[in-house]
């Protein structure tokens, strides 16, 4: 337990700011993906041949892309606070947020295995966080 606490402390001390900002960026990514999912593009692909069809798809995809862009901006700021090889994997927090968001908005069930997966990903992120020099 002590050792686990130390790893967490060390991780936050070295890369805390970067990890938190990267996590916010990851949240934007999952919101962007959720918006694409909710846009239900599959049903619109039949109209893609016409200009209005393309515009309709473009407008549907746009909100997701804007949120993605904001996420990229936050990610860029985050990357200034530590090593790239440490901070980029924090992006995997988007899986965690995606699970939570799809449970809320798409009513996809959260299974025990998903909860284990979330905890393992967070453990991996903390482990990476303390690994820079």
């Amino acid at each position: 337990m002590m050792k686990g606490e130390n790893i967490l402390k060390e991780s936050l001390k070295k890369n805390g700011k970067g990890i938190i900002l990267m996590s916010i960026s990851a949240l934007s990514l999952s919101v962007g993906q959720l918006l694409w999912k909710l846009a239900d593009l599959g049903s619109m692909m039949g109209d893609i041949g016409s200009f209005s069809g393309v515009m309709a798809v473009f407008l549907k995809v746009l909100p997701g892309f804007i949120i993605y862009a904001v996420g990229a901006l936050i990610m860029t700021v985050a990357l200034g606070y530590g090593e790239l090889s440490v901070l980029q994997p924090v992006n995997s927090m988007s899986y965690v947020f995606a699970l939570i968001l799809s449970a809320i908005f798409l009513t996809e069930p959260i299974t025990p295995l998903k909860v284990i997966g979330i905890l393992v990903i967070i453990a991996g992120v903390i482990l990476m966080g303390g690994s820079s020099k």
Binding site: A72, E83, V86, P89, S92, Y95, V120
Partner: protein, 110 residues
Amino acid sequence: MKVVICVLSMTCIASFASYFLKKSSNTDNKIKILLSPWFYLGGILYVISAGINIVLLQLIPYTVAMPVGALTYVWTMFVSNRLLHETITKRKIIGMFVIFAGAVCVALGQ
């Protein structure tokens, strides 16, 4: 074959996107990031990678596409080692595998 090409291009491009974003973040004044050409190059690569991701999701189920995306971190480790002189430590490799294992659990839990 189409799937392999999608996966490799998506993850490689995402790696280089984050490298260029990292390059542009190397400034004290965060507003200056917006003036850096590296930011826009990274952003464009990022959008391309996201586009390939959308295509990939039409080809394979989300549950498979998701852990596969973690391949990006492997390329990033090499890219940051070669181009940014970051060290590859045992702990980074272990952390990467732990994250991948978590992604597989999440995917299998669907």
